[in-house]
Each structure stands twice: as structure tokens, then as C-alpha cells.
């Protein structure tokens, strides 16, 4: 390996994506900026799986699309091995695209129905001809199929001849064709049945053990993320609420939003079955008009005056830990239960 293991492969710094209002007629009459992602920081290390969770509209998919340069950011930077991907020239960008690949949620939409599986798997080599000599394509495509648990003869078939789980394997095989270092997985198993989902999750784990590939694993299913991730990042309304080792975030969440989200998940683990749910007030606010200060404060049972005034920064919780949370009154702070009028300011 060229890099030290502790050197991140991707560094996301103050990533911001605002969507400007569309010109022309609008049903809602809205003219406000949608703040889909608003200052997100995280690192991704070789060989790790970073789970990215949060509810609809929290910006997790926008983060993925921006890292892939499918969207131009409003501000901030994404460093791939120290180099900002938004200032890369064409040649550099082409290398980046080789090294950062993606698997999407819907394999039916991601694979061209008119191409054979062999052609689908060879397409990356058409675009990056220096990776593999042409005479090796047919063999390599079959090797990839075996690697994802399919058979070599499947190379001659077409997408409609496969089930959803098999198609997702083909999508993964295509992403692996260029031996990437990072795989962005945007809800890769959400459309799959439980038994098939388990096969694909195991496959992703095996590939990582073999190749040291890093996964940014985006999913709304908390149990899947908990299972596959080394670290987990929780987003709320375009900001990072909490990030840290998966066991810490899931077992002792520091941010009240993480705690509420986890408590809502229907679990099957015997020791968690009777657990109290933390209900949230109201609905998620519009990203066009997010609350001042902490974005979660309008729904938080711990919110106090300071939460409306100051934006909480990501800080180690408990102090000294490598888990970070952006909250003025995190779950582990004992004085959070003391009414604010009794606290010294």
C-alpha cells in the first residue's frame, strides 16, 4: 500500500450543496434556497465501512452524489488522497472515476437492458482502455461474475434473465471491474428481500476482506448499517449530528436525534425488545428554512434557549473519545436533565 493505514482516502470538508430556486412558475411560490447539505465533514479510511444514516431529505444521497461529482458543491471540498476533486483536470478526474465507484439502489435502472452481462462488465474497460488489454476482457468478466457468486456462463445473458438480487451482484461486479479503492453504496440492498439482502451484505463483506476497499454505505435501514459498518455517521437536515464507531453510536448514542432514531427502529434483539421509544415532536422542518442554531432543536426534548442561538459543533463525546456529536446537551452529559434555570450559564 502506498499510504499509511491512518491516512484517510477521502476527506470531506465543510461540504455544502444548496439548490437555487428554479426560475419560472412555482406551485409553492417558493423562492428560497434549499440547503440540502450544509457544512458536512468526515473522513473515509481504506478498508473501512462508514455507514451514513438519516431520514429522507437529510442530505445523505446528496453527499454521495457530490463525492461522485455528479453534483457541483456550493462550497467545501472533497480530498481524494489529499487532492481536491473539484479542482481536478480531465485526466485526474478520469483516474478518480476509476478509483471511486458506485452501486445504486435500483439495479433494474442501473443496468442497460439491451447489453449482455459481458458487455455491461466490459464497459468500464472501454472507457478506461489502459486498465486491461482487450483480449483479457472476456476472461476477466467471467472472473468478476464468479467473485460475486454468479456463474461464468451468465456472461452471455441479458439483465431481464436475472432476479433483483442477481442484478445487484452484476452491478457490484461492474463497480469492481476497475479495482476501485472506494465504493459508494447508495441503498444497495434496500430493494432486496431479506434472504437476498443477506447474501449481498455477505458478498460486500467478503470483497472488502479480500481487497481492502472502503465503503461509504448509505442506507435508511439502521439494522443493516449497524451490521456492516465500522463507523457510523448520523445526518439530520443537511448537517452531521453524530459520527463515531458503530458500536458506540448504536449502543450509547450521544446526540438526542440518534437516540430517538434508534429507539424507533423495530428490533429483534431480545435485550432491546421492551425498550422505550423516544417520540419526536412534529415533523422534519423544510431544508429551505431550517431552524436557527441546532437544526434538531424544534423536535428535541432537551432543547433550551442556547440551542436556538448557537450552532453546536462536532465535539468528542465523552471528551477525549473518537466519537463526535454536535449537541449542546448530549445524552451522556448528566447535567442535561437539570432544568436550565438551575444551571450556571
Amino acid at each position: 500500500m502506498l499510504l499509511q493505514p491512518e491516512m484517510p482516502i477521502l476527506q470531506v470538508r465543510n461540504l455544502t450543496k444548496h439548490y437555487l430556486p428554479q426560475s419560472g412558475f412555482s406551485f409553492s411560490g417558493g423562492k428560497s434556497v434549499i440547503k440540502a447539505v450544509d457544512g458536512v465533514d468526515f473522513d473515509l479510511y481504506p478498508g473501512e465501512t462508514l455507514g451514513l444514516v438519516g431520514e429522507s431529505g437529510c442530505g445523505k444521497s446528496t453527499v454521495a452524489r457530490t463525492i461522485l461529482r455528479l453534483e457541483e458543491p456550493t462550497a467545501g471540498e472533497v480530498l481524494y488522497r489529499g487532492q481536491d476533486i473539484f479542482s481536478m483536470n480531465r485526466t485526474e478526474l478520469k483516474t478518480l472515476r476509476r478509483k471511486v465507484q458506485v452501486v445504486f439502489q435500483n439495479p433494474y435502472a442501473a443496468l442497460n437492458p439491451r447489453m449482455s452481462v459481458e458487455d455491461i462488465l466490459s464497459e468500464p474497460w472501454v472507457i478506461h482502455p489502459d486498465v486491461l488489454p482487450r483480449e483479457r476482457w472476456a476472461d476477466r468478466a467471467r472472473e468478476l461474475l464468479v467473485q460475486v457468486g454468479l456463474r461464468p456462463e451468465h456472461a452471455e445473458r441479458y439483465p431481464h434473465q436475472f432476479s433483483g438480487g442477481q442484478l445487484q451482484r452484476i452491478g457490484i461486479a461492474r463497480a469492481l471491474a476497475l479495482s476501485p479503492e472506494v465504493l459508494i453504496c447508495d441503498e444497495p440492498v434496500s430493494a432486496l428481500d431479506l434472504s437476498v439482502q443477506a447474501q449481498v451484505i455477505n458478498l460486500l463483506e467478503e470483497i472488502q476482506a479480500e481487497t481492502n476497499i472502503a465503503y461509504l454505505f448509505i442506507a435508511h435501514d439502521l439494522s443493516v448499517v449497524r451490521h456492516i459498518s465500522n463507523r457510523v455517521a448520523v445526518m439530520y437536515l443537511g448537517r452531521m449530528a453524530e459520527i463515531g464507531p458503530a458500536s458506540e453510536v448504536f449502543n450509547e448514542p450521544a446526540h438526542p436525534y440518534s437516540a430517538a432514531l434508534l429507539s424507533a427502529e423495530p428490533t429483534l434483539k431480545p435485550d432491546e425488545i421492551g425498550r422505550e421509544r423516544i417520540p419526536l415532536k412534529g415533523e422534519i422542518p423544510s431544508p429551505a428554512n431550517p431552524p436557527s442554531g441546532c437544526r434538531f432543536r424544534t423536535r428535541c426534548w432537551k432543547a433550551q434557549a442556547v440551542c436556538a442561538e448557537q450552532v453546536p459543533q462536532l465535539e468528542p463525546r465523552p471528551p477525549g473519545s473518537n466519537r463526535l456529536a454536535a449537541c449542546h446537551f448530549p445524552m451522556d452529559a448528566p447535567d442535561a436533565e437539570i432544568p436550565h434555570y438551575l444551571q450556571s450559564t
Binding site: 431520514e55 428481500d193 437476498v196 463483506e205 449497524r226 451490521h227 428490533t267 429483534l268 434483539k269
Partner: protein
């Protein structure tokens, strides 16, 4: 013991596609008692939604065809009712909530008007009274500022709020049975929890039974009292949900639990079910699960296991159920 509210007995539904007959439901049996929440759990193609559609009489006929069995609801076989008799029972006795609330609502009418329509169709003469009842229902399903929201259109509601509107319409006439087909599948977990809590509360307050169709083991465990696990168009295991999911007797139920990240301890590998889901046009002989079953023996290939009662209130269709139970207990 009194008669159950709903009894589905040996239901068979076929779909004719080209030259093939797809056996979507292949002898499914289940019961729902008054006031209880029963989860119908299964993967795609298990027949859970087709069973729900058959109970609601909303199957597309053709290509669908009811090939056998009966559905007894409040003592009457609803498959033999005339359309007008059935129409009288809809909404009053049995109501439906689907996954996709947006396509179930009419985009050009305010939601309050659509809820009020349920009352008007079922005999309420006064528009004013119907509208007031609609506002009352919106309040009941937890929609803030119901007077104002009643005048708004479906596109102005979030996914979770639309599903609340659907539930308001479904429970408007206090049906005895609510059939909820994946009611929270498209929603975020916090919204899902709010809506399932609300359905549970209405069920408890009104004594309304719920047939909850879901693919999510955790949802079944948290919200239902009993569960029916479906595979290849049959209910292969049924019983109290906590017992079935903590001590499954059917190898398929056990396999589902072993492939669910929700049920696995930290660091424990998932154990997926081998093979692929059954081809419903060409079902295997004997037990439909035998090609994928770790416990399959010769008898499983030869004959379909009969429905067997094991333990109290539990039934299973498996030749080797007692061995599976022993393995789980060990």
C-alpha cells in the same frame, strides 16, 4: 370459543399468464380474532399481498382467479356475496390501507372533502356534519391544525401525513377489520413508529382487528400479537409472534431470522437462505421449501406436510418441526 372475526380457509388464487398458471396463493389458511393485530409476514412473491387483495375482493379478475377456498368474515363467505352486498360492508366492516398513499388519494380534491365523502356515501345527508366529522378524524390521527389541513390537497402533505389521512378514511366508519398492506414501508423509521403506534391505539380503543401485511420481522414483533409466516402461497407457520420469532418451528422462519441483521448479535455473520425463491408456476413436489431447506429429508420431497398443531396456539407445516424446535432450544 367463539367464531373468529375472519377465517381464511385453504385459499387458492391463480394468475393466468400466457400458457402458464402462477399459483400465487396455494392453500393459505389464517384466522383473525376480534380486536387482535395479526401480522402476515413474507418475502416478495410469498402471496401475502394477494391474500390481502382477495379478502378485499380487489384482485384483477382476470388474470387472477380464485381457484378454491373460502373467506369467512363475520360468519359470511365474502367470496359469494353479491357486489352490492359487499359494497355495504366496505368501509363499515372492513377497510384497507395500502403502501402508496399518494396514488390512493385524489389529487384534485381537498383531503377533508375526501374523508367527508366516506360519510356522505354511507348516509350522512349534511355536508356540514360530514366535514366536521372529517376534521375530527384528522385530529384523531394526529394531524396538527386539522381545520386548516382539511382544506389542503394531497400534494401539500408529507408521506407520513398522507398515510395518516388514508388511515383516517379507513377507520372513519369504525370497521371491525383493517387490512394494512405494508402501510409504513415507504416511510422513515420515526414516522413508521408514529403511525404504527397510532394504528395500535385505534385498534385497542375500538376493538378493531388489524391484518398487517409486512416483510419486516421487527415490525411484526413490535406491533402484532400473532404472526402468520407465508412461503410460496401458504401459511407455513402461525402463532403468538414472540414465541414464533424467538422459537421458530419452521425452517423457513428460522432461516429468515438468521438472515436478518436485526436479529444478529454484533459481529455475527448473516446466514442467508440458499437457492432462489420458488417459481410459482412450477412449484416443487412435497414441501415447497424443501429445495432450500437445511433439514430436508426424503419425506419432504415426497409429500407436502400437513398442518400440525404444536404447543398451544401454534401451528406449522413441516415434517421436521419438532427437530427444528429442538435445535432452536439447544
Amino acid at each position: 370459543m367463539t367464531e373468529p372475526l375472519l377465517t381464511v380457509r385453504d385459499l387458492k388464487v391463480e394468475f393466468q399468464t400466457g400458457l402458464e398458471t402462477v399459483h400465487a396463493v396455494n392453500g393459505a389458511s389464517l384466522t383473525v380474532e376480534a380486536g387482535e393485530i395479526v401480522a402476515v409476514l413474507g418475502e416478495s412473491g410469498s402471496g401475502k399481498s394477494v391474500t390481502a387483495a382477495a379478502i378485499m375482493r380487489i384482485l384483477p379478475i382476470p388474470p387472477a382467479r380464485i381457484a378454491g377456498g373460502e373467506i369467512i368474515f363475520q360468519g359470511r363467505n365474502i367470496l359469494t356475496l353479491s357486489p352490492s352486498e359487499w359494497k355495504q360492508m366496505l368501509a363499515r366492516d372492513v377497510a384497507l390501507v395500502l403502501q402508496d398513499a399518494l396514488s390512493a388519494l385524489n389529487p384534485v380534491y381537498p383531503v377533508g372533502w375526501q374523508i367527508a365523502e366516506v360519510f356522505r356515501v354511507h348516509g350522512e345527508r349534511s355536508r356540514k356534519v360530514a366535514n366536521a366529522k372529517a376534521v375530527e378524524l384528522l385530529k384523531r390521527v394526529g394531524i396538527p391544525d386539522p381545520e386548516r389541513r382539511a382544506r389542503e390537497y394531497p400534494h401539500q402533505f408529507s408521506g407520513g401525513m398522507r398515510q395518516r389521512v388514508m388511515i383516517a378514511m379507513a377507520v372513519a366508519l369504525r370497521p371491525r377489520l383493517l387490512i394494512a398492506d405494508e402501510p409504513t414501508t415507504a416511510l422513515d423509521v420515526t414516522v413508521q413508529a408514529d403511525i404504527m403506534d397510532m394504528i395500535t391505539q385505534i385498534s385497542r380503543e375500538e376493538g378493531m382487528s388489524v391484518l398487517l401485511v409486512t416483510h419486516d420481522l421487527g415490525v411484526a414483533l413490535r406491533y402484532a400479537q400473532r404472526v402468520c409466516v407465508m412461503y410460496a402461497g401458504r401459511v407455513v407457520e402461525a402463532g403468538p409472534v414472540r414465541e414464533v420469532l424467538s422459537r421458530p418451528a419452521h425452517p423457513y422462519t428460522l432461516a429468515l431470522l438468521q438472515s436478518a441483521p436485526q436479529a444478529r448479535a454484533e459481529g455475527e455473520r448473516l446466514n442467508p437462505i440458499s437457492g432462489s425463491p420458488p417459481d410459482l408456476a412450477h412449484l416443487p413436489t412435497g414441501c415447497p421449501f424443501h429445495p432450500r431447506c437445511r433439514y430436508a429429508a426424503d419425506v419432504c420431497r415426497a409429500s407436502r406436510p400437513a398442518e400440525t398443531n404444536i404447543l398451544l396456539g401454534r401451528r406449522v407445516e413441516c415434517h421436521r418441526a419438532m427437530e427444528v424446535l429442538d435445535v432452536v432450544a439447544a
